[in-house]
């Protein structure tokens, strides 16, 4: 079950809408934050907090890419490999993450610290190659820079 503060948060969101289904997406974000990923238990907690059928919660959450349905690392690396980033060497960075951290696309490091998602353009072509770690944006990436940045996320 959710922590007391999470339930309070969901209730506050719920109060903003006439229909509880409207609060589903924000509630799923909270569930993902609380559980790390959307475990069946997390989805059921959302269903019972909002009084929405759990099948509906599952249907909605599996539609969106930002909701994860498998174990994720503590920190999520989202690396772009679209044209600008690719030209400026994003693919070597993918190999670097694999060799250095054992991190494959869609995978998770053995110690559960990071998981990697290769994502489509995040609008940072001017400073390509770019990535997001959790909600922080980083550009002009090189191998040393990545190592440096990731060192800050334990």
């Amino acid at each position: 079950m959710f922590s007391k503060s999470a339930i309070k948060e969901i209730e506050e969101i719920r109060a903003k809408y006439p229909d509880s289904r409207s609060a589903l997406l924000p509630a799923l974000y909270i569930a993902q934050r609380e559980y790390g990923w959307l475990t069946p238990e997390a989805m059921e907690s959302v269903a019972s907090a909002l009084n929405i059928p759990s099948a509906i919660v599952k249907g909605v959450s599996t539609f969106y890419a930002m909701f994860k349905h498998k174990q994720m690392g503590r920190h999520l690396i989202q690396l772009c490999t679209n044209i600008s980033c690719m030209i400026l060497g994003a693919e070597t960075l993918v190999d670097f993450l694999k060799n250095k951290y054992g991190l494959e696309e869609g995978g998770i490091t053995p110690n559960g610290r990071f998981s990697l998602v290769i994502m489509e353009c995040i609008g940072g072509c001017d400073v390509a190659p770019v990535m997001l770690v959790d909600n922080d944006f980083y550009g002009n990436l090189t191998e040393e820079k990545i190592e440096n940045i990731l060192g800050r996320y334990q």
Binding site: P40, M43, E44, S48, N51, P53, S54, A55, I56, V57, K58, G59, V60, T62, F63
Partner: protein
């Protein structure tokens, strides 16, 4: 008037409907997948594309409404090309496994593909695989065959209201799934199976057992589980029910069914059915011939009648038997046995309530059409969950809620959890206090119509509970309640749905007075929920100790004389015993013999130890049934009868509609009425009939309510009350019976037993359905988290459930929605019946049992 030209044919329409519907009305077929008459329009499959003049592109005919002067073409080269292209897309991932798909032969996808020819696709990427899911006991999902038309999801979400499945994932990995991904946790209504156009969602009960074109017979008949009386088509092959096919165009249910109706038919072919008559020799029941069994029954009954008089013999009729059976039964008891001791288990639910309401409001007050419920603006639900007792009626309540009706759910209604405006829950069994406040409050707001002055003065003089009492006894927030009552009083079109729980109370008289008062003040349509298919029929056929067929009172001589003349036999003038008086009579020794037709009182009446010892006290007990029930086990003679698909007849449903059962299986044996007339013959009475048609003829002359009614009339739709007959005329009564002081819990908080009426179960019958047993596998004691914490028990733990009468061992199941201070038990499993735990307490006036206030203890079991 709208004029539209479809394929060169001019079509005139009163009101705008979609092109698809207009075409269908005039016999023009348009291929489609996502359209279904029961569902919300979606326009997703793109198969029903048509050409509309002056519109630039092809249009989906299922979502486009006709306008005046529209010119539509449903077939053209361009349309064919578009449809072929759509099919090619749909078949990219389709396994094309028609040779072993059960749907083949009646599959929309197969038919369309044959028509437009797209079987050879141009995609070379290979098909995605997704293994068939057989984790569920009843439903197989083969998502490779799914075409994502979402019919099942729209059915589950938008019609049934269960929302148990949804479209999961996206793009070409979109599948229909329940939450678990495997086993369903749903109402098992089977309606998703009904609407699936392909072989993606199928029933396991007849998996790989048939081909649609091999069916030998299709019989339209009525479901025998509950009082709604849903129609469906039975498909029969080699004297076996292969499957049940609900049809949108057939019956009051319009193609909607529930778990019992859709999956529960298997009991009729159970190997445990009785095959030959049994008689007791020594301590054992042994098979015998029909002739011997019937002779023994006739001789023993004649003997007892001669020795002790007719009033020493009783008969218990059954709401599972047809009108014809029940009519012959009461005639048999009255004419042959010379007794008015005839009653049925309907006393514990329907009968008393209906009589009281009709007395005050008028005859036919409960004859309201179920399809009217969604048109109400307000719905009050009390005394039982309609979605569990009468599931298809419950679906109508949900539909009303979706249409904006206010649903006031009083008590424990788990099925309306997401379909109610107000949930009024109270301390167990204190509803009469709540209702009494509601009535006195409404009386101050509502103006009375003046229709029944004496009842109005009773309402005006009634002193209900004060708000303080309600807050204290029922534990309801007073200001909330006042707000709800104010809202309720402003609604003009109200349906009042009354469940059987309200009758099984110490305060039964007060409850019925209060509910009638509410219905009277709000001018509400009343629906009485019926657990059994023919509760109304039992009453109408005169299976009551003081009523003759057609609802005519026995103590009015002219009615009795009229029936005596028509029958040619005498009817005793004195009203007989009710079912509980018969049990007490058996106990005291004044009742010597009992004839039970299709009933299991040993199991369905409270305190089964007392009932059993009473019945064992009888000199002679005959039980007529299709299974060896608990009661049959202690009988002197057991006579096997025919089940619902093995005979012709009629049922009268809870809206008083008479519907026909049709014979679809052959089985050796006799119908209930035929057994009775054979015994009558051996006793020297002439109550012989050739067929159920013959009996209906007699009913239509004897019962003024059914006068002139024939089976043909029923087929033509003359099936709604008051048919062609005349209802009883009487002055509206004042509803005078002494009210009881409302029951209020005494002392400290306790746990109380409540009987669960689950939608998967229905007592003796559902026990023998392997399908229903696979989804409600074992009896359990359901409690909420608070009770579990206080009793110190865990989910799944085996505990002893103890009342002052008896105890049983059951596993605990924790469900957070169950009200506090409540232990929910079912009465559907062998040797685990909850009714037997309840003390025997009968209301002296209504003769109904009170099963409330039964204290219960949960005892932990000690292990070494």
């Amino acid at each position: 008037m709208i004029t539209v030209t479809i394929n060169g044919k001019e079509v005139r329409l009163e009101k705008p409907i979609t092109i698809f519907e207009a075409a269908e009305m005039h016999g023009i077929k348009i291929p489609h997948f996502c359209y279904h008459p029961l569902l919300e329009k979606w326009g997703g499959c793109r198969m029903c594309l048509v050409e509309v003049e002056k519109m630039p592109k092809l249009q989906t005919s299922c979502t486009l409404y006709v306008t005046d002067g529209m010119v539509v073409k449903t077939e053209s080269e361009e349309i064919s090309k578009a449809r072929k292209a759509m099919l090619e897309f749909l078949l990219i991932n389709h396994p094309l496994d028609c040779p072993f798909c059960d749907k083949a032969g009646e599959c929309d996808l197969q038919n369309s593909t044959t028509l437009y020819g797209a079987s050879a696709g141009r995609f070379e990427e290979g098909k995605r695989r997704h293994p068939e899911n057989i984790n569920d006991p009843l439903i197989v999902r083969n998502m490779e065959r799914c075409i994502s038309c979402t019919r099942c999801v729209r059915m589950c979400d938008g019609v049934q209201g269960a929302s148990a499945i949804s479209m999961v994932n996206r793009s070409n990995k979109t599948f229909v799934e329940p939450f678990s991904g495997g086993r369903y946790n749903c109402e098992y209504c089977g309606n998703c199976l009904t609407v699936c156009p392909v072989g993606a969602i199928m029933s396991r009960l007849h998996r790989h057992a048939y081909r649609p074109w091999q069916m030998e017979e299709e019989v339209k008949t009525v479901c025998a589980y509950c009082g709604v009386g849903c129609s469906f088509v039975l498909q029969v092959r080699e004297n076996n029910i292969v499957r049940i096919m609900p049809k949108p165009e057939v019956g009051i249910n319009k193609g909607i069914l529930c778990a019992k109706g859709y999956f529960g038919y298997g009991y009729i072919q159970s190997s445990k059915r009785l095959t030959s008559p049994l008689i007791k020799r020594g301590w054992k029941l042994e098979p015998t011939t029909w002739d011997e069994a019937l002779t023994i029954v006739a001789n023993r009954l004649t003997e007892i009648k001669k020795k002790f008089g007719g009033e020493s013999i009783g008969g218990i009729a059954s709401a599972r038997c047809t009108n014809e059976d029940n009519y012959v039964f009461q005639k048999f008891v009255r004419a042959c046995l010379g007794s008015n001791n005839i009653d049925s288990i309907v006393r514990t639910g329907f009968a008393v309530a209906q009589r009281y309401i009709e007395d005050v409001i008028g005859q036919g007050a409960t004859a309201n059409i179920i399809s009217g419920i969604p048109h109400s603006e307000g719905i009050i639900v009390i005394g039982g969950d309609p979605t569990h007792i009468n599931p298809v009626l419950g679906v109508q309540v949900r539909e009303a809620f979706r249409r904006g009706a206010k649903v006031f759910a009083i008590g424990y209604n788990p099925g309306l959890e997401r379909h109610r405006t107000h949930n009024i829950s109270y301390y167990p069994f204190t509803e009469s206090t709540l209702l009494s406040y509601l009535v006195s409050k409404l009386a101050t707001i509502k103006e009375l119509s003046g229709e029944n002055k004496s009842f109005e003065s009773k309402i005006n003089n009634f002193k209900g509970a004060t708000l303080k009492d309600v807050e204290k006894v029922c534990r309801i927030n007073g200001s909330d309640l006042n707000r709800i009552i104010k809202e309720l009083s402003s609604i003009s079109s109200v349906s009042l749905i009354i469940g059987p729980d309200i009758v099984q109370r110490t305060d039964v008289r007060t409850n019925l007075f209060l509910l009638t008062a509410i219905a009277y003040m709000l001018n509400a349509r009343i629906y009485l929920l019926a657990e059994k298919p023919n509760e109304q029929g039992v009453i109408d056929m005169g299976c009551l100790p003081d009523t003759l067929p057609g609802g005519r009172p026995l103590d009015i001589e002219s009615f009795r004389k009229r029936d005596e003349e028509l029958w040619g036999y005498e009817i005793p003038p004195k009203p007989g015993l009710t079912v509980f008086e018969m049990i007490e009579g058996a106990n005291s020794g004044s009742l010597k013999a009992l004839y039970i037709m299709g009933g299991n009182p040993l199991y369905n009446l409270p305190d089964n130890a007392f009932v059993k010892s009473s019945i064992q006290n009888l000199e002679f007990l005959v039980v007529q049934d299709i299974f060896l029930s608990e009661t049959a086990e202690i009988a002197d003679v057991v006579l096997p009868s025919l089940g619902w698909v093995e005979k012709e007849g009629t049922y009268t449903n809870l809206e008083r509609r008479i519907q026909r059962l049709r014979k679809s299986l052959d089985r050796q044996g006799m119908e209930d009425w035929r057994i009775l007339s054979e015994i009558g013959k051996k006793m020297g009475f002439k109550i012989q009939y050739d067929s159920s048609l013959d009996i209906m003829k007699e009913i239509s002359t004897v019962s003024p309510l059914h006068s002139g009614l024939t089976y043909d009339d029923l087929d033509k739709g003359l099936d709604v009350w008051p048919y062609k007959g005349t209802p009883l005329r009487h002055k509206l009564g004042a509803g005078d019976w002494p009210l009881t002081k409302s029951w209020s819990p005494s002392g400290k908080e306790k746990l109380y037993l409540t009987i669960e009426k689950h939608m998967f179960l229905s007592g003796t019958m559902s026990r023998y359905s392997t399908a229903l047993n696979s989804i409600y596998q074992e009896p359990c004691a359901k409690i909420n988290n608070d009770v579990a914490e206080r009793s110190g028990v865990k989910d799944g733990e085996m505990v002893t459930i103890k009342t002052e009468k008896a105890q049983i061992i059951l596993p605990i199941k924790i469900d957070r929605n169950i009200p506090d201070f409540t232990v929910l038990l079912t009465n559907n499993f062998i040797e685990k019946g909850a009714m037997g735990l309840i003390p025997y307490k009968i209301d002296p006036i209504t003769k109904t049992p009170a099963i409330d206030g039964c204290e219960i203890k949960i005892l932990k079991r000690e292990y070494e």
